[in-house]
Structures are given as structure tokens and as C-alpha cells.
Amino acid sequence: MLARIAGQRGIQRGVRSKLLGLACASAAPRIPKHHDAPSRAMATTAVVTKARNAPVLKVQPWTRDTASPDNVRKIVALPSDFLECFPVEELPLTLQKTFAFFATPSLMLRKSTLRLAAEISKAFSGDKSGPTQFVVDGVKGIGKSAALLQVVMHHHALKHVVIYIPRASVVINGTEPFVPRDEILYDQPALAASILDSIYGLNQHLLEEIKLSDAASGYANLGELVRDAATDPSKAHRNFDILMRELLDPQTAGLRPPVLIAVDQVNALYSVSEYHDVGSKPIEGHRFSIARTLLDLFKTPNGLPNAAIVGATDPTVHTAQPANLSRLQRVATEEMPELPLVVSHADVTPTTALEKQEWIGEKAVVFELPPLSTDEVSTLMEWYMRGKLMYRVELHRRLVERQRVMTGGTGQALFNSCLASRVADPRTIEFISTSVPEPSEHSVLLVGDLSVATEDERAEMLHVLKGGDMDAEQDRGTAAQVFLDEIPELERMQCG
């Protein structure tokens, strides 16, 4: 009832948000405290779906034919078999917040995601000179986790072996038991077992068809190996090493399906963890065997045979002190002793570490996601309207352009803006049906035709690929100018 009142016309924005909050609080069940549970805000939003009677929208699930130019800017649902292996609670937190508001977890297919998938597919084509290591980078909220998830679903639908780690920060956040393997490395048996369990759930039939080349391991096929380790943490690390060795063996590359390893929050692996050694010194992330295995794959000089590894960065992961900082400090002391040793956190962001290429190989490619285009913002806002996230809003060109400019083209900011009903201001509603401009011809992407940078350009840009149009910046400038020209001067002053 409170939610219905909040949806009525004439309710002020502050009052509406308070009414929605009361509706959530009254509908929220008592949630037991557990250190692995999501925060209170996340738990509250998870109940909002029920409290606000989210409509069940018909959305096509992801299939092997979804990744095509015909489906660009379409909303596609996560398939049910994928959700059985990775429930919404195990996905990245940024996606959980969006999925909590809809009955069916869905994502929009972007052109940049298609391009990323095409680049990765080249790695499976047998071209040994092409890149097999990819890093998806971009500003906060641009859609890195969403793009990675869609790539994972694409390759899972194509019956490839997919190893997906949705939250690499669990390696370093101090929630898993750890034991020292030797003087350098540490093991996390329970975490390794849970990762193997998810691998088995996602690739059960594929792994059972792959025979082991090493008969001494005592297992008939990879499926048996992974299943045994998933139930017995004492064997987890040993079997995980055998699994990676078998899947990435160059001699058997042609005898098995392609392998995709996708790691979200990859920058957490090279930061300092919450764990401490016996001497109370913090342990760096790369000293954990799981992280070491994955980082070694990123640094493999000759690439991966019939396989690819993709990592998405997450600027929200706390990187207190990257692994290379001590080396930087030592170099500063030896070469330039007059410089202060204090290095601010701003100097060692994930992007900075990527530019220094401390942890990725020479052939690795950094894929930067572009901001949302006007068409994509329009599609998302239309989706939010269908999902009853926004109330009594007429979608028109000026509104879409304004939202795109105000949010900077980031999906997360757009979602938060629509969620807070900042769009539903009766003073800005114009009942003029203006159509959103049609996409231009050059924005159509052919999957087979890749406008990849040349070797010289790549070397110059530090292996950076732009995922969007060449005139994306121009589009944003044009949109901003349109917005500034149309609003009165007084209102412009109020907007700041």
C-alpha cells in the first residue's frame, strides 16, 4: 500500500523515497546475521522485488545465437541453467543490485560486448599470433561485470569449457581459511573446493568427456577429478592444479573444446590481502596459490593454447597496497633517494598498474568499454519503465539526452538515477512525442569484421582497444550542447 501511495502523482521526491523505504522495511523479513551475508542495503533491495510486485516481463533467454548484431540493444535474460550454478547472490554485487529489482535477471546486449566476444573468439580460431589474454577496463559503473557475464554466457551456450570466478576478492578479503603450503605460497582449500564445485556445475558434461593424460592421478576423466575435489577440500588444490594443467596442455589443445577463464575483480589478485603471516605482516594477494595460478596465466608469454583468459577490473575493490609498491619504494630509495617514499593511493589505481603492465603479458589486450550511447540509454530507460522502476514518465529525446549527460553514460549511475525517481519530476515532463534518433549506419557491428588497431597503434596505446565508436566523444559533446541550449538560463543556474 505504501508503494502504491508512493507511485501516485504529486508526491514529492523526498517523500516518495521515504515511503518506498518504509514499504521495504515493513516487507523485509528478519535476516540472520552472518559474515557472508550481503549488507543490509542489499538484503533490503532483495525484498523490494516482492514488496513492489515487480511485473514478470517476457525476456528471451541467452542462447548460442544471441550474440549477433540483430540483438544489439535488446534485453536478454540469464538462462536458468546458468542461474542454477551461479545464483544471483553469488554474482558481483554491482549486478545484484540491478537484478534485485526485476523478477528475471536480465542485461542489455551492447555493441562493445559483441566486439569483446569477437576478439575472444579469435583466440579459439587457431591463430597463435593473436592475443589470448584480455583485461576489461573502464570507469566505475560502465558495465565491465555485465560485459564479462555476457561473454561467459555466450561461451557457455557454445558448449565451451568456462571457468567463471564472479568475485576474485574472496581470495583476499579474509573470509576463507588458509594454510601455508611452503615459505612463499598459501593454500585456501575451502575456497578451491567451492570454485571446483562451480566449475563442475557449469561444465559437467564437457569435463566428463575429457580423458586425463596422466593416468597416475587415479581418475578416469576430468569430471571425476573435479567432483571428487569439490567434496573433499583436502584434495582441492592438487586437483585444481591438475585440472588447469590438463585444460591448458598444448599437446591436447585440439582434442578438447575451447576453454574460457573469466575472472571478475581481477585487480584484487595483485593487491594486499586481509591475511597476515605469523609475523603479523600482511600477505600479498599473489602469494595465494589460486591467485598465483590465475596471474601466471595472464603473464604467459606464448599465450594459451585453444584457450583465453579474461579479467574485469573493479575499482571498488580496496587495493591498500599493490604488490609492486614495495618494489617501487625500493627503486625510489636506490635511484632517487631524495624523493619521499610516501606514495598516495591515487598513484596506484588498477589502471595505473595496468599501464605499468606489472602483471599482464606483452600480448595481453586491455579492452576499454565506452559509455552508453543515446540509443542504449533509451533502451534501458524503456526497460526500467516496463519494470515499473520509474513512475509516470514520458520517454522523449530531451529526457534521454539529459540522463545520458547527467550520468556520464554509466549504467550504474543511470540505474541509481532512475531508482531514486529523479527522472519522475512532474515539472520536466513534456507530453510531446518525439522519437529517439535512429542509429547511424556506421554503428552496426559485423562480428566478422573487426576494426582492430594495428600493431603499431596497439604498441602506442599500450595494447588498448576502444570498444565504442570513434565519435563517441563527439556524440556526448553534442548531447551536452543540446541540453544546455534548450533549458532556460535560470534553470541552468539552478542545475549548476
Binding site: G174, T175, E176, P177, S280
Partner: protein, 137 residues
């Protein structure tokens, strides 16, 4: 509740936090104990294995905590009182020891200091006399 070295520790707390319930262990010591035993920071006390609990109790046995620590503190105060130094006199007089003001406040010192050195005044008159002496000081 985990009963360890005469102290009931809450099971649902994190290990480092639960150890602070022991007299003589604070946040820093609790964390360093976890580091030495290889217990991850987010571990709860009820998640520890028997082997870990055994090693924890063995490590705590080597530390000066609880009764042994209280005894040492009491001995140090007695030593100062017997010595007749300024701090000993302040303990005897149940006043602040470290130079705090006594014109007002100092209620904690008057309540807690020198409890082992003052005879109990069971009669009301005795309590009033003691109160007046304290005010004059």
C-alpha cells in the same frame, strides 16, 4: 559459549574480538594471536576446529593473563605502597595517581584505587567520616 581458561567466550563473535573478553588481551593482542595461529580474520569462534582450539589454549597458557596478571598488578601496587613513594601514597589515599585534578572529578580513582589497603567501614558513621576526609584532601 566456549569456556577457555576460566572465561566464557561468546561463540558468535570473531576470534580476535572474542579473545578480548579475557583479562589481559586487547584488540592488538587478539589479532596477533590469530596471526600466529593462522586463523583467518573473519573466522568466528564456533567455526574453529578442535585442533585450532587446542593450539589456541596452549598459546594462551604461555601468556600472562587473568589471575596471574591481576596478581602481578596487585604486587606492583603493594610494592609501591611499601616503598612509601608518591604513587604508593596516592594508592593508599584512594586518589588519582598520575597527576589528574582532584578539585573535581576523580570519581573513578576514589572508587577503584587502593581497595586492598583501606579497611571496610561497616558503620554509617565510619563511611561519613571517610567521606569528609576525602573532601578535605
Amino acid at each position: 559459549m566456549l569456556y577457555l581458561l576460566g572465561v566464557n567466550l561468546p561463540d558468535t563473535r570473531r576470534v580476535a574480538t572474542a579473545l578480548t573478553y579475557i583479562y589481559g588481551i586487547g584488540n592488538s593482542t587478539g589479532e596477533s594471536v590469530c596471526h600466529r595461529l593462522g586463523i583467518h580474520p573473519r573466522a568466528r569462534l564456533n567455526e574453529l576446529t578442535e585442533d585450532q582450539v587446542t593450539r589456541l589454549s596452549q598459546l594462551l597458557n604461555t601468556m600472562k593473563i587473568e589471575a596471574e596478571l591481576k596478581r602481578e598488578v596487585s604486587n606492583r601496587i603493594s610494592q609501591k605502597v611499601n616503598m612509601g613513594c608518591y604513587q604508593g601514597i596516592r594508592h593508599q589515599m584512594r586518589l588519582p595517581v598520575h597527576g589528574q585534578r582532584t578539585r573535581n572529578n576523580a570519581r573513578t580513582a576514589r572508587r577503584l584505587n587502593g581497595r586492598g589497603f583501606q579497611k571496610r567501614e561497616y558503620s554509617r558513621c565510619g563511611v561519613l567520616m571517610k567521606f569528609h576526609r576525602t573532601i578535605l584532601n
